[in-house]
C-alpha cells in the first residue's frame, strides 16, 4: 500500500495519471447527470463501448478508428503549433482546404491509383501548408497575432470552397462536389474487408505515421530543437543563430500540412466528396485532443482514440438506451476541464497519499 502512496506522491507519476483520472471523473459526472435525468449510466456506458466495437465487433471498431483518424491529425496540428509557441486555431480551415484540394485532384485529373492517390494526398498536404503559411508570414513579417489571422483564414476557406465546388466540380446538387473516383480514394477493398466492411481507410496509417514522424522531428532532430527553442524563447533562439521568422513560418506550414492531411483522410477517405458552406468542427476538436494529450504525439494519438470511441459509440448508446448523445459532449468537456485542473487532482492525490501516511503512522503506534 505504501508503495502506491509513494507512487502517488511523485510529481512525475501524478502528471501521467492526470489524464486517466480526468477521464474517470468525466465519466463520473456523466453518470450523475444521467441518474438525475433518469437513465441508467452503467447500461449507457456499456452500450457506448459496445457501439464503439470494444466488445469485439470489428466493423464498429473500424468506425472508431475512422473517427479517430482526422482527429489525430488535427490534434497533432494544434499540438505541434503549441510546442513551437503558436496557437493554431485555424486547423479547421487548413483541413478544409486540404480536403478541397484533394477532392479537386480526385475529380479533375484522371490517373492510375498508384499515382492519383499519392498525388491527391500530397496536394492536400501542400494546400494545408499554404493555408498555414499565410498566417505564419503575417505573424513573422507584421507581428499579426495568429489567432486573428487563422480565424479569418477559416472563413476565407469556407467561402473559397463555396465558390469553387459548384463552379468547377459540382456533383448532382449545387451544394456538394461529385464523389471522387476510386483511384483517388484512401479506401482499399482489402482494408474494408479486414474490418468487416467498415469504412476504415488508409488515412489511419498516415495519421499514425505522422504522429511518429512529429515525435521524431521534435525529439530527435536539430530542426525540432530549433522549433522548440523558438517556442520557448524567441530571443534566445535568435541569439543562437536560429532564423526565428523562418521557423515561425515553417512551423505554421507544418501545422497546416498536418491539418491538410487531416482533410485528405476526411474528404477522400471518409466522405468521398466535399460539401459547401461548412467548416469542419474537427479542427476545433483538435484543440481539445491536443490539450488532453499534453501536446505530445503519443498523447494525441491516445486522446484521439478516446474521442473516436466516444463519438463512434454514442449513436448506438442513444438508440439502445435513449440517452441523448449530447451527453457524450458534456463528458468530453468535463474531461478536458479536469485535464486543465491538474492542480485540483494533484491536491486530491496528495491528500490521499498523506492520509495513507497518517494511517500508517497510527498503525505503527498501535
Amino acid at each position: 500500500m505504501h508503495k502506491l502512496k509513494a507512487f502517488l506522491s511523485d510529481d512525475k507519476n501524478q502528471n501521467r495519471l492526470i489524464p486517466f483520472l480526468s477521464i474517470i471523473l468525466g465519466f463520473l459526472v456523466g453518470a450523475i447527470i444521467m441518474v438525475i435525468s433518469g437513465y441508467n449510466p452503467l447500461a449507457a456506458y456499456s452500450k457506448l463501448l459496445q457501439g464503439a466495437g470494444l466488445y469485439g465487433n470489428l466493423r464498429r471498431f473500424g468506425e472508431t478508428l475512422v473517427l479517430m483518424t482526422p482527429l489525430t491529425l488535427t490534434g497533432l496540428a494544434v499540438a505541434f503549433g503549441m510546442r513551437t509557441g503558436l496557437f493554431n486555431i485555424g486547423a479547421s480551415g487548413q483541413m478544409l482546404m486540404g480536403g478541397f484540394a484533394a477532392i479537386a485532384v480526385g475529380l479533375l485529373v484522371d490517373l492510375p491509383k498508384v499515382i492519383h492517390l499519392p498525388l491527391a494526398v500530397l496536394v492536400a498536404v501542400a494546400a494545408g501548408a499554404l493555408w498555414g503559411m499565410l498566417p505564419g508570414i503575417l505573424k513573422s513579417k507584421f507581428n499579426i497575432h495568429e489567432v486573428v489571422s487563422t480565424i479569418m483564414m477559416n472563413w476565407i476557406a469556407v467561402w473559397t470552397v463555396y465558390y469553387f465546388v459548384p463552379t468547377y466540380m459540382m456533383g448532382k446538387y449545387n451544394t456538394e462536389s461529385a464523389a471522387i473516383p476510386d483511384t483517388a480514394s484512401l479506401r482499399f477493398e482489402w482494408l474494408t474487408n479486414l474490418f468487416n466492411g467498415s469504412s476504415i481507410n488508409f488515412g489511419l496509417l498516415l495519421a499514425l505515421a505522422s504522429a511518429l514522424l512529429i515525435w521524431w522531428v521534435l525529439e530527435k532532430t536539430t530542426f525540432g530543437y530549433e522549433l522548440k527553442a523558438v517556442g520557448f524563447n524567441r530571443d534566445a533562439a535568435k541569439y543562437a543563430g536560429i532564423k526565428v521568422n523562418r521557423n515561425v513560418v515553417l512551423s505554421m506550414m507544418i501545422s497546416g500540412a498536418l491539418a491538410g492531411l487531416a482533410g485528405a483522410t476526411f474528404y477522400i477517405g471518409y466522405t468521398d466528396n466535399i460539401k459547401i458552406g461548412e467548416l469542419p468542427s474537427l479542427g476545433f476538436d483538435g484543440i481539445a485532443v491536443a490539450l488532453l494529450g499534453l501536446n505530445t504525439p503519443l498523447g494525441v494519438v491516445l486522446s484521439a482514440l478516446l474521442f473516436g470511441i466516444m463519438n463512434a459509440g454514442k449513436g448506438f448508446m442513444q438508440a439502445a438506451t435513449g440517452v441523448p448523445n449530447e451527453l457524450v459532449q458534456i463528458i468530453i468537456a468535463v474531461i478536458i476541464f479536469f485535464a486543465a485542473a491538474t492542480q485540483l487532482i494533484k491536491r486530491w492525490l496528495r491528500y490521499f497519499a498523506r492520509n495513507e501516511k497518517k494511517e500508517k503512522a497510527n498503525g505503527g503506534e498501535a
Partner: protein
C-alpha cells in the same frame, strides 16, 4: 539596544533544499545592516519571509520587540516594512506615479487623483534627492531611475524598515554612488535598512553591521568598521579569497576585431551608436567603460548580429562580417556572453545539456544530417559541468529554470568559452554574482586572453574594467572617446571621461 527586527531560528525548505536553516538576523533601529552570502546562500529567501511572501517552517519574527506573523506583503507594509526586490516589480506600461500609488491610490470620489499623488511623489523625490519624473513611463526610464521608483514606493508607504535585495547589481558606478547617498539620507531620517549585496566595498562604504550566511546557515554578525574585507569574504565562502586578479602581461597580436564608422539605432529608432571606431587585438582584453545607455548594448548587438547595422563596417580577422547572419558570425569566431541571461542566454525550459549546445547543436558530433545525438550531447554536458563546476540538482538533465543565477551564468560561460572563439564578447559577465563566482569568471577570461584570443569586456563597474582589461576604451554618446592602457589610467580619469567632460580627438583606437 532595542532591535527593530529580530528573525530567530528561521527555517525554510524548498523541495530538495533547505534554503534557511536556523537563521538569525537582528537589525538595530537606525542602522544599515548588510546581509552577505554566496549565490544561493538564502538571503533572498530570508527577506521574502520577512516581507511575507513565504512562510517559514520554524522560527519567529519580532518587529520592535513584538512577535508578529507576516502572512502576506500587506501585513509587512502595515508593519512599516518595505522591500526593493532583486528583480524590480514594476508595471512597464504604467507611469511612475501609477506604479507608486498602486494599492494605495488616492481618489477624488471614485476617480483616481493622480495629480495629488504626483505632487506627493515629487515632494518625496525632492526630499530624498531621488530625481524621478512622476509622469514618465517605466519602460522609457533608465534602470537607475526604476530603482529609485522602487525606493519611492516604500517611502510613499511610510516604511521605516527598508530591504534592498542586491540593489546595485544593475546600476552604474555613478548610480551606485547616488544610491549610497540616498541610503545614508534615509538612515539619517531614522529608517532602518537591510542591504543585500555581493560587493564588500559597498558594505564597507555604508553598512554598520553585517550578517553572513553560508549554504542556508547563519555564520556570524560582525561590526563592519573593524572587520577587513577579506575577513568578511572568508566568513562568507569558508576559505581565503583572492581579490587581486592575477594576470601576467598581455602579448597582443594581430587585430581581430575592427569596427569602423559604425552606426546603429536603438529600439526607439534613435541613433545610439554614432560613427564608432574600435580595434581589439588577439591576446588582449579590451574593456569598454561607460555609463549605461551610451550605446554599449547596441554596439554589442550590432557586432553579434542581433541588431541591424545602419552604416559602417565590422571586420573579424580581416573578413568583412558587417551584414552576415548571426549564425555566420558565430561560426566565424564570435562568442558572446549576453548581458541579459534570461532573455538571450538561456532557453529556461530546456535542460542544462540542451542549453550547453545552443550554439553548436547542429554540428557534429551533436548531430549528423540534422539528427541529434543525445548521447554525445550528454557526454559533452557532463564534461563542461565538470570542467566549469556548474552546480545543479540533476546534472545535464536539470531544467535551466531551476538553476541559481550564478550557475546559469557559469553554464553560459562554459558554452561560449569552450568553443574557444577568436573573439569573446562578455557583457556584464559578473552582474549579480558572488565574489567566488566573480573570481572564477575573471580567471576564465584571462585564460582565454592567454590562449591568444581577443576579449571584449563591457562592464559598468570600473573596478572590474580596471582589474581585468589590458586596454580600456571609454564609450560616450555612441562613440569611443578615449582609449588608454589599463595601467596608465585610473578610476578618476575614466569617471570624468565617462561623464563626457574630456571628449577629444584622441580616439586613436
Amino acid at each position: 539596544m532595542e532591535y527593530t527586527i529580530e528573525m530567530l531560528g528561521i527555517r525554510k525548505e524548498f523541495p530538495g533544499i533547505v534554503a534557511n536553516d536556523n537563521v538569525t538576523l537582528q537589525v538595530k533601529s537606525g542602522e544599515i545592516h548588510a546581509l552577505l552570502g554566496e549565490n544561493g546562500a538564502g538571503k533572498s529567501t530570508l527577506m521574502s519571509i520577512l516581507f511575507g511572501m513565504y512562510q517559514p517552517e520554524a522560527g519567529s519574527i519580532k518587529v520592535n520587540g513584538k512577535e508578529v506573523t507576516i502572512s502576506n506583503p500587506n501585513v509587512a507594509n502595515e508593519l512599516g516594512i518595505g522591500m526593493v526586490h532583486q528583480h524590480f516589480k514594476l508595471v512597464e506600461v504604467f507611469t511612475v506615479t501609477e506604479n507608486i500609488i498602486l494599492g494605495m491610490e488616492p481618489t477624488k470620489g471614485i476617480v483616481l487623483d493622480k495629480q495629488i499623488a504626483a505632487k506627493r511623489i515629487q515632494e518625496l523625490s525632492d526630499q530624498y534627492g531621488l530625481m524621478v519624473d512622476p509622469d514618465a513611463l517605466i519602460q522609457d526610464i533608465s534602470v537607475g531611475m526604476q530603482q529609485r521608483v522602487e525606493i519611492l514606493k516604500m517611502l510613499y508607504r511610510n516604511a521605516d524598515i527598508l530591504i534592498f535585495d542586491e540593489p546595485t547589481a544593475v546600476l552604474t558606478p555613478q548610480e551606485i554612488e547616488e544610491l549610497m547617498h540616498i541610503m545614508e539620507r534615509l538612515k539619517a531620517e531614522g529608517k532602518s535598512i537591510i542591504l543585500i549585496t555581493h560587493k564588500l566595498k559597498e558594505i564597507k562604504a555604508v553598512a554598520d553591521r553585517c550578517t553572513i550566511l553560508r549554504k542556508g546557515k547563519y555564520i556570524a554578525t560582525v561590526d563592519v568598521a573593524p572587520t577587513p574585507e577579506h575577513e568578511m569574504a572568508r566568513l562568507m565562502v569558508g576559505r581565503e579569497v583572492n581579490f587581486k586578479v592575477e594576470k601576467g602581461p598581455a602579448h597582443p597580436g594581430a587585430v581581430v576585431l575592427e569596427v569602423e564608422g559604425l552606426e546603429v539605432s536603438d529600439n526607439r529608432k534613435l541613433k545610439a551608436v554614432k560613427g564608432l571606431n574600435l580595434e581589439v587585438k588577439a591576446g588582449e582584453i579590451f574593456g569598454i567603460a561607460g555609463i549605461d545607455g551610451n550605446g554599449q548594448a547596441e554596439l554589442v548587438e550590432a557586432i553579434t548580429g542581433l541588431r541591424p547595422i545602419n552604416a559602417g563596417k565590422v571586420m573579424l580577422g580581416g573578413n568583412d562580417i558587417t551584414h552576415m547572419s548571426i549564425r555566420n558570425k558565430t561560426e566565424k569566431g564570435i562568442g558572446y556572453i549576453p548581458e541579459d541571461r534570461h532573455k538571450f542566454g538561456l532557453v529556461l525550459d530546456y535542460t542544462l545539456a540542451e542549453n550547453l549546445v545552443l550554439q553548436n547543436y547542429y554540428l557534429p558530433p551533436f548531430s549528423k544530417n540534422g539528427i541529434l545525438n543525445h548521447d554525445e550531447i550528454e557526454k559533452y554536458a557532463e564534461r563542461l559541468i565538470d570542467e566549469f563546476d556548474v552546480r545543479s540538482g540533476q546534472g545535464p538533465s536539470t531544467p535551466a529554470r531551476s538553476m541559481s543565477g550564478g550557475n546559469q551564468q557559469k553554464a553560459i560561460i562554459a558554452r561560449e568559452v569552450d568553443r574557444s572563439p577568436a573573439l569573446l564578447i562578455a557583457s556584464q559577465p559578473t552582474r549579480g554574482l558572488d565574489v567566488g563566482a566573480i573570481e572564477y569568471i575573471h580567471k576564465r577570461l584571462i585564460a582565454e586572453r592567454d590562449k591568444g584570443k581577443a576579449v571584449l569586456l563591457i562592464s559598468f563597474e570600473l573596478d572590474e574594467i580596471l582589474n581585468v582589461s589590458d586596454r580600456i576604451g571609454v564609450i560616450y554618446e555612441g562613440q569611443i572617446v578615449n582609449v588608454s592602457d589599463a595601467d596608465k589610467t585610473n578610476e578618476n580619469e575614466l569617471g570624468l571621461l565617462m561623464a563626457g567632460s574630456k571628449k577629444g580627438g584622441e580616439a586613436n583606437a
